[in-house]
Symmetry: C2
Subunit: 178 residues, 2 copies
Amino acid sequence: MTTWVYIAASLDGYIAAEDGSIDWLTGLDNPSNDDYGYAEFMKGIDGLVMGRGTFETVLTFPAWPYTKKVFVLSNGMATLPAHLAGKAELLSKPPREVLTYLAGHGYHSLYIDGGETIRRFLKEDLIDEIIVTTVPVLLGRGRPLFGETGALLRLSHISTITYPNGLVKNHFRRNRTA
Amino acid sequence: MTTWVYIAASLDGYIAAEDGSIDWLTGLDNPSNDDYGYAEFMKGIDGLVMGRGTFETVLTFPAWPYTKKVFVLSNGMATLPAHLAGKAELLSKPPREVLTYLAGHGYHSLYIDGGETIRRFLKEDLIDEIIVTTVPVLLGRGRPLFGETGALLRLSHISTITYPNGLVKNHFRRNRTA
């Protein structure tokens, strides 16, 4: 099982303003309509794992955006909306059990999404690949990408891509042997 | 007057562990003894501005490391050590007055150093150039590079350099016209 983080953050490490808004990200110049590798990345994963907060944000989108199965981590939700049957599944398990469960169901490559879920997985050193696209802005405050980890986690740098509008996408891989 | 930040930080935005240690930075592989452009950067500045904390760290070094004049911001210190006469000068002024004072004394390009001093200058939008070298490690906790700013600060991406040991150096410029 390989777990992936794929996310954009401000230079000061926020993934959203305090009220959740991301207009500093969506309002960027993007004349060539670049997707920054998102579609290619999505081809490589076979499932998504997100928390309730991210899931509820996605529900506000005009249409369900995912072609891969989404697993929603929540202890508080009883069911998911009926129209998402087959598309999304509720899991009330902690991170490590989520991975064991999904590995047992044939999943190999999971997109771990949403700040809180990413931090929970990182805290248990359960993230293998981190692709962070840095947006050239300082928000000054907001919802952070990273939080406390259980230990210092060494990474290896895999690649860097810069985009004409100033985004810098870095791919790091968890290095558990160093 | 142009103000510069030139600093290394972990991927999660810390410039030192909680106890101030930077062994996660100094212990990096560096077979070609690369200085990551530091000497070249230092040629371009004509003075340094740092707070008391950074200054006291520098005093623990075996020798005074700077050839450019250092301005130490402190309200609490009465004097600097006598052996630093001509090399370092105490300034008890807030950031904006520091810049006015030094501009009046012929300085054009200042290296603003140390986490607290950087954050104080950023809070008043007094930083023009930010060169941050990202170290591929998650510390999980520590002394942060960035803090609250007075507003959202847009930057322009100038350049990115990646090093064989995984460091990624990004140069951003404050964009006050966007």
